[in-house]
């Protein structure tokens, strides 16, 4: 716990620069069409990126598509079906895209008329560019990691647990990977990997990670 590893961990916070795309949907049929041809980065932005932007107020919908269908199309059934899709359960953004399209397609088959947006806005697809920002000194022990995790900007939780997994291909997340490979603590790594980041705030994810690390530290000193 207190022996420094030779491979230190650097916390990285992030800020996102949003970019508007030319894709937009004015009803659910167009939403299906645009979901098919939108860049993968846009699917990521409207699903995983939701967690970076919606702190600390978690709203009733887990992604931008569900939120738009609920508040602008006013189709609660499709909103509920889209909201329940957990992006963290998908192996890739293409799998997530397929799931979203499948839900919208199945819903449209059951409708006799497609609801249009009469009093709301069209859905404008966006994507984001992440600017990485190293935060604080690198840490070399679990104790230092704990102190860093407690203080670091919440965007670092997003970067290491969401961005790393979904967009950068580091499927375990950076915290679990470092703890497994550098600190040789596979059981703690597995517990960190299992934290459910869906439909919660980054602060709650931080609190859960801290609780797991604290339990490990207490066990080691007992």
């Amino acid at each position: 716990m207190t022996t420094p590893t030779s491979a230190p961990f650097q916390f990285i916070g992030c800020v996102e620069l949003r970019q508007a795309l030319d894709h937009r949907a004015r009803d659910e049929r167009e939403l299906l069409d645009r979901l098919e041809d939108a860049p993968a980065g846009s699917i990521f932005y409207h699903t995983h990126g939701y967690f970076l932007r919606h702190r600390p107020i978690t709203t009733a919908y887990g992604n931008d598509f569900a939120a738009w269908v609920a508040s602008h199309v006013r189709d609660q059934v499709l909103a509920e079906r889209l909201a329940v899709i957990n992006p963290f359960e998908m192996d890739s953004l293409e799998e997530l895209r397929e799931e979203l399209m499948s839900v919208v397609h199945d819903h449209l088959l059951r409708l006799s008329t497609i609801p249009r947006v009469e009093f709301g806005d069209a859905f404008h697809f966006q994507q984001s560019h992440i600017v990485e920002v190293p935060l604080g000194p690198a840490v070399t022990t679990l104790l230092e990691f704990r102190a860093g995790l407690a203080d670091v900007d919440a965007s670092a939780i997003y970067f290491h647990m969401v961005e790393a997994r979904a967009r950068l291909g580091r499927r375990s997340g950076d915290f679990a990977e470092w703890i497994r490979t550098s600190l040789q603590l596979p059981a703690l790594a597995e517990r960190l990997e299992r934290i459910d980041a869906y439909m919660t705030s980054l602060e709650r994810v931080r609190a859960r990670a801290l609780a797991l690390v604290d339990a490990e530290l207490e066990e080691a000193t007992a």
Binding site: L17, R18, R24, I57, F119, H124, V133, D151
Partner: protein, 397 residues
Amino acid sequence: MIAIDDYRRVAPPGVVDMLLRLAEKVRGRRLLHISGGRFGGGSAEILHTLVPMMIDLGVDAAWEITGGDPGFYTTATSLRAALDGAERVLADEALAHYVEMNRVNAKKLALDADLVIVHDVQPATLVEHRGPGSRWVWGCHFDASRAQRRAWTFLRPWINQYDAAIFSLPRFGRRLSIPRYVIAPSIDPLSEKNRDLTTREVTTILRGLGLTQDRPILLQVAPFTAAEDPLGVINAYRLVKKHYNVRLVLAGTSETDRPGVEMLAELREAARHDPDITVLELPPDAHLQINALQRAATIVLQKSVHEAFGLGAVEAMWKGKPVVGGFAGGLTQQIIYDVTGYTVHSVEGAAFRLRHLLNNPELIARMGAAGREHVRRSFLVTRHLTDYMALLIHVTR
């Protein structure tokens, strides 16, 4: 002089440290803002805050302005109005003169920077004088989605010479051959309009305006124009007044054109028959008075029917007030429905939500607190500055 460290007590934890780290990343890169003037609202108002903050962070930032003769200003104003959707006559000679005046401006200004952000219409054509190696971004602070076709056809080739454009909302932009970034406007929490006021200060300022706080105050701060629907606000208040003994305060500036004069006369006529309606015509720099009014209000209305981004709802939420806003412009982004207030489509909808809130005072407190937190995270100048730093890093990488 406000320093970057002063924002630690109002911004979310960690944000100022993040800004300091971002500043380290851009060290050695020069950022130049160019706008049409140093006074008034829009880009000038926020640049007065943003540029000193950047300099305080150690960023090599500067701000230049363009100038011209009366013909230049007239054409730039007409072009801006036409791009905002109004009908204007744009003569070829006037547009050529506008371009020519910016050629004169280009000779006077030091345009050398790693990133040049040109704000709004007046300096827009300066882009033809860009030097090699620098990146140029056009910042659009209005809704260009309904631009008059002739105006957009004139401006689009200029805008496409930039490396990127910035819009306040995705739907405010038009199709361009360059990337369109989205950066929402912000408020400065330490400015006269938004800084904390003591109860005594609020009471004194309200007394100066001839108002008392003897019962709940419904407030709308907005220009007295049809777009802000002050008459709709009075009708909503009348529906509420049947059940609640409240005051209505309409505070704003009036237009000098005929529709503006007629609107003000109608509002005054309504107020003449109801002593609980107060129409306050304020000068554009009445920041402290607006601050006090928003703090004294029980519920704030922003019942616009056509709005650009606007920041009235954000200002009110920063003061812990729930907002009932129209379903227009940036209000749907600012107000989180049922969390920080309500967006409504009609006079009846506004009245219903006002009654709902007045009947549930605990909801007023809860939504007010949620609204302040929402603004802290999403609409403070610290977030705006973070976005500009991200832009500087991204486009000059």
